[in-house]
Point group: D2
C-alpha cells in the first residue's frame, strides 16, 4: 500500500532512484507463454531515453535492460518478470545545490516533509527517471495486447498554446511512421515543425514549456472496466495522473463536452456489420460508457505542466527556512512531452492489459 | 478486485441497484472512538437527494439511512460501519422502454456486453443512485477530517459555457452559507442566478447540459500521498472520474498550466510563520508537489458531461441489433452538477481521510 | 486493509455485531448469470444456526436472510451481492457481566486494548455470530463450484481425545446423508454416538471441550493456487485460522507427515485414463504440490479449542486491573465443532471459488 | 494478485528462479530513517544458505546481496528497498532428468499443468532458493522490530519422531548462542546431538526426513492483528504455510488444545505490574486472543514434510504420461529444518512488522 505498485492482475512494482545503482520493475501476473521480444522492449525504452535530440535533456543513458527472471527460452513462464535498468550517466555533483535547499515546484520539500530524509541526487525517487521502468513493463503489456490485436497510439497534440488540428481520430496514421519522423512526436508534420521551432526558442531562453499528449486505443473489445470505482477511464486517469508533471486528464469529449447539451452529446447507436454488431455515430463517450469499453476507439488527452527546472536564478528557502537563491543545474528537458509519449502509451497499455485479464475471469 | 471498493485504510465497499430493496456501504477502517453524528450524515445526504428543487429530478427519495453496525453508544468501534439506505420511490415500469433497447450514451449496452445480463430498471447498478452510498460514507470521512481541522469545500463553477469568475481561492467563503442560498450551488450569487435561469430553459426544452465543479481542501497537512503511483492527485483523479458522468479532471493549474512557461508557473517558496514554516507565493501546484501535499490549499476541477436522458425521441438499436426509437422516461436532472457537489466533496473526503491514515503509519 | 474482507476475485466483506440490528456480507466478484438458489443458501445457514439440538447453544436465531442487491430474476448480475441476516434473539442483559470485566480466553481484553472501546454485548464483533455471514457467502461460492462439478465436504473427525477411524478418504460418503443423521456431524455413525454421549456429559458438568474437523474437496481441477505466497493450502490455512476458536491447520499428511521419511512420503505418479491423465498412488500431498492443486482430492484438518465460556466461576480482572470473579452467562455451545462444519465448508468453498476465478485469468 | 507479494503496509514482492541470473525482493513500505545494517542482513542469509555443514545440501552459494535502492547514507528513505541476490553455483545440467519427467511430490507436474511451460532447472520458481529473498527482507523487518524491542526466535523442536523436551517457553535462551552451537539448530543441546546423528544416518541411506520448528515472539505489544479475517495467527499461519514443504501450523495449545476441556484450557487474567498491567496465568492462547496479540509471548509450531528429492530410484511418468524412472540428482538437504529456522523467523518478522504498522494507523 506504499504506492509503488499499479494494477491488479497485470501488476507492476517499480523501484529505484535517479542516481542509485539501478532502477527496475517486477511484473507479477503476465500470462505464461507470451513471446517476450527484447528488441521491441528496447525500442520502447529508446523512445523515452534522454539525449535523443537537441530538444531533450543531454543526459546520456543507454537505458539497456536485462531480464532477471520470469522468462525461459524466450517465453514468459507465469512467474514474476524482473526487468533491471542500470543507471549509467549520473553526475551526482550536479545536485549539491538542492541538498539543503528546495527547488521550486519540485518534490524536494514534500519528500523532506513526508519522510524526514531524502536522496536529493537528481531528485532521487521523485525523478522522472523512474518512468523508464514503466516503459519497460508497458512494452511487455503491449506485446500482450498486440497478440490480441489491440493497439495503443499517442502523440503530442499540444505544446504551450500551440494545438495540433483536430484530426479525425479514425484517420490518424498510427503506424508511428509520421510521428517518429519529427523530434516532437506530433502526428501532424506541419504542426510538428512549428512546435520544434518553439521548443528550441524556449530552450535557448533557459525556460521550459508545458504540453499535451492525445492517446488512442484501437480494437479494444467491449466489456473492459469494473464499475463502480474501477471504471476503465478512472483507472486510465489515475495511470496518467501518476506520471510526473501531469496536471490534467480528460477522455472522450472531456472538458469541452461539459459545455454541451445532451441532445448534441449523445452518441447514437447504429447497427454495424462488424464483430460487435454495433457502433455509435459519434464518439463523445471516448469508447467508454458507464466505465466499460463499448468497442469504439478509446480516446483521452493528458496535460503536462512546464518542467520545473529552468536555467534561471529563482528565490527559494533552505532546510532551515531561510531565504536563498537557486538556479537549475543538471541536464533537463525544455519540454517533457516528446519523451512522455512513450510513457503515456506504456501506462495505457498497462491499464488495458490489466482490465483485459480482469474481464476474462468472468467468462465462465 | 471487482471494482466496488475504494480506498486502502479508510476503505468503502458499496452495493445496490437503483430499483432494488436498498443501497448501502460498508466502511472498513474507520478509526475507533470517532463521534458519529447522524444528523450531519443526513444533512450531507439531503444535499444530494433528488427532488430538492425544480432544477433537479422529481424522483422523491427521503434517503434516510440506518447504521447497522460498527457504532456503539454514538462512537465508532473500529469494526465495519454499515450504512443502509432503503430505496423508496421506485417506479420500475418507467423503465420498460430500456429493457430490450439501449439508451444512447447510457451504460445499457456495455453492461449487457460485459455481463450478459442486467437489471434495466432505473439503470440498475449504473444509476447515479449508487452515489448516495458514497455521500453517506464520505460524511463519516468528513467527521474524521473535521476532527483534524481539515475542510473540504466544492461548488459549481461552470454550467454549459457559463463560467464563475476566477475568485481567488483563498477568499472563497467556505461556510457553505452562500452556496446553499442558491439552487445551483455556486459560490458566486450573481452567476448562480444566471446559471439557474439557463438550466431552467434547458429543462423546458427537454434537453440537458453539462457543467463543472471546483473543489478546495483546506488545512491539509504536508505529507499526504504515496508516490509513485498513489500520488494524492492521482487518487483524487480516480475518485472523481469514478463518479457518474465525469469526463475530465485537473488540479492546480490544470490544462491551462500546460500552456505556460516554467518561469511563470513555478511556485516560489517563501518563509511563513505558520505551522509548516513555509508557503508558496503562487499555487499552480494546487497544494500537491511530487504527488504529496505541501500544506497549501488543494484545488481541483471536475467536468461533467450533459445527462444522457433527454425528453426527446432518439434513434437507437435493440438487443437484436435492429433499429428502433427511444425517448427519455423516468425522472431525471436537466443538469447534474448542483446535486453532484455533495458527491465531489464526499469522494475528496474519502481520499484525504485514506491518505491521512496511510501517512500516520510512517510516524515511527 | 482493516481485516474484514477475504478473497481477491471472489471477495467477501462482512459486517455486524452479535447484538446489533443485523449482520451481513457483500460478495464482490461473483460471476454473472449464476442461478442463486435461496433455499440452498438457507439450508446451509440452518446447519450453522444455534438451537439445533441439545448439544448446541439454546440461543434461538432463525437466521433468515434477504438478498438486497446483485440478483435479478434469480440470477447474479455481476454486481455486488448483499446478503442481510437480521439479528433476532438477542438478550443483551445476559452480558452485563463482561461490560467491565474480561472473560478469560475471550477477546474482551484484546479488543479493549486495541480499540479503546468495545461493544461488549454477546462479544460484539468477536462473536462467532459473524460466521453466519460467511456461511451465506460460502453457500453462493458452493453454487458456483457445483456448477463446475467441484464438491466440498467436511465432518467432525475428533471431539476431545475421541478420534474417528481413519476412513479412506476416497470412500467417505459425501452425500451428507450419514453425517446429517447424527447430532455431532461425524461421518462415522458409531463414533458419532460415542461423541454425542461425551459432549452431553461435558455439558452437564458446565464444561466445554475442543474438537477437530476434517475436510475434503473433490473434483478440483489441477492448476489452482498462486505461488509463492498465495499457495492454495496457504490460503486454505488462513481461511480456517480466521474462524473463531481455531488453533491449528494441517493438510495432506500434516504433522504426522513431518515424522516420516521421504522414501515413504513421496506420492508416485501413475498414468490414469481419467480427465487429467495422471494420478498419484498415495496422497500425502493432500491434492496440492508446490501450492497448486494436482487434481487429486484436497484434504485438510482443522483443530478447535474448547469454548471459553464455561458455566463455572473463574477468577479474572476488571477494566481497572483489579481482581474479580466471572461466571459464564448467556447461551453457549459445549462443543463448537458440530455447528462449525458448515463454516469450514463455507470458507473452503470461498477459497476454491476465488482460486478457480484467479486461474481462469491465465487461459489466454 | 498473482501471488508473489506478501503483507499490506510492510509489503514484499519476490522474484527469481533457482538457476536464473538472480533472485531478489522489493520491500515497499519500510518506514523511513531506519538504520539498515547490512552485516546483520548478511548474517541472517548465512543461517539459511546452503553448504553450511554436512547435514545440509552441498550446493555452494555465497548468497551475497546488494541493495539497489531505498537506502541513502545507511538509512531507509521510505521508498522501495530492492535487495538483489545473484545466483552463483548453478549446475543446470544436473536437472536434465526432470525436463520431461515429473519428480514425485515436487511441483514439476503442477507448474506444467497450470502454466503450460516451466523452467525445470533446479525446480525454477518452485525451488526453496526463493526463500533467500524472504530471509533478506525479513532481516530488514527484524531491524524494525529490534528498534521496538520485539524479538523473534525459532528453533528445531522436532526431527522425524524425535521431539525436543517441552521446555518452558519463558525459559528458552533466545540469545541464539546455544542454538547456533549445533548443526541442527535445536535449543536443547542434548537433543540436538541425537537429531544430528539421526539426520546423518538418513542422509547416508540416501533418504530424507521431516521435522518441526517452534517459534516465539517476545515483547509484542497488545493490539496487533485485524479481525475478522486478518487475525494475527491467521496471517502467521498463511506466512508459514507459504514456505516450501510446510504441511501444518498450530499456535498456542494447537492440536493438543483441541483435546482439552475449557475449564483446563482457559488462561486466567492476573494483574501484572508490567507495562500492560495484565498477564495470564497460563498461555494456551499463544499470546493471541480473538486474533489480536495480548502482550504475552506469541508461540507457534510449524511442520515440514520430508524433502521430496531422495537419492533412490523411483517410478514416475513423463510429459506424455508414459511410465519412467527418476532418481534424485542435484544437491539436496536430507532434512530441511536446520536451514528453515531462518525462514520461519523471517516470515514471522514480516507478519509482526506489517501488523505493527497497521496497528499504528489507528492511534489518532
Amino acid at each position: 500500500m506504499a504506492g509503488n505498485s499499479f494494477g491488479q492482475l497485470f501488476r507492476i512494482t517499480t523501484f529505484g532512484e535517479s542516481h542509485g545503482e539501478a532502477i527496475g520493475v517486477i511484473i507479477d501476473g503476465c500470462p505464461p507463454r507470451l513471446a517476450v521480444d527484447e528488441a521491441f522492449i528496447q525500442g520502447e525504452l529508446d523512445k523515452r531515453k534522454p539525449g535523443q535530440s537537441r530538444i531533450t535533456t543531454q543526459r546520456q543513458e543507454s537505458d539497456e535492460f536485462r531480464i532477471l527472471s520470469g522468462v525461459f527460452e524466450g517465453r514468459s513462464t507465469g512467474t514474476p518478470i524482473m526487468l533491471l535498468i542500470p543507471n549509467a550517466d549520473q553526475r551526482s555533483k550536479d545536485y549539491d545545490h538542492n541538498k539543503d535547499s528546495f527547488r521550486p515546484s519540485h518534490a524536494d520539500y514534500t519528500y523532506q516533509a513526508k519522510y524526514g530524509i531524502r536522496d536529493h541526487r537528481g531528485g532521487g525517487r521523485s525523478s522522472a527517471r523512474e518512468t523508464a521502468a514503466r516503459v519497460a513493463a508497458g512494452a511487455v503489456a503491449k506485446l500482450l495486447l498486440k497478440q490480441q490485436g489491440i493497439e495503443v497510439f499517442a502523440h503530442v497534440s499540444g505544446v504551450g498554446s500551440l494545438e495540433a488540428p483536430e484530426t479525425d481520430v479514425t484517420n490518424i496514421d498510427t503506424a508511428t511512421a509520421i510521428r517518429e519522423q519529427n523530434l516532437v512526436r506530433c502526428a501532424d508534420p506541419e504542426m510538428a515543425a512549428t512546435m520544434t521551432t518553439y521548443i528550441d526558442e524556449v530552450r535557448k531562453a533557459g525556460d521550459t514549456v508545458g504540453g499535451r499528449i492525445s492517446c488512442l486505443v484501437r480494437n479494444c473489445p467491449p466489456g473492459l472496466g469494473d464499475p463502480v470505482f474501477d471504471k476503465l477511464h478512472a483507472d486510465l486517469g489515475k495511470a496518467m495522473l501518476s506520471i510526473n508533471a501531469v496536471h490534467g486528464f480528460e477522455y472522450g469529449s472531456g472538458f469541452k463536452g461539459s459545455e454541451m447539451n445532451g441532445s448534441d452529446h449523445n452518441d447514437l447507436f447504429v447497427p454495424s456489420p462488424g464483430e460487435n454488431g454495433v457502433k455509435t455515430q459519434t464518439n463523445y463517450s471516448g469508447g467508454i460508457q458507464g466505465g466499460i469499453s463499448n468497442g469504439m476507439d478509446i480516446t483521452f488527452k493528458v496535460a503536462f505542466k512546464p518542467v520545473a527546472t529552468i536555467m534561471q536564478s529563482q528565490p527559494t528557502i533552505d532546510k532551515s527556512g531561510n531565504d536563498t537563491e537557486i538556479k537549475g543545474k543538471g541536464r533537463h528537458d525544455p519540454c517533457v512531452v516528446p519523451r512522455a509519449v512513450a510513457i503515456v502509451e506504456a501506462m495505457a497499455a498497462l491499464v488495458i492489459a490489466d482490465h483485459f485479464l480482469r474481464n476474462k475471469t468472468l467468462s465462465l
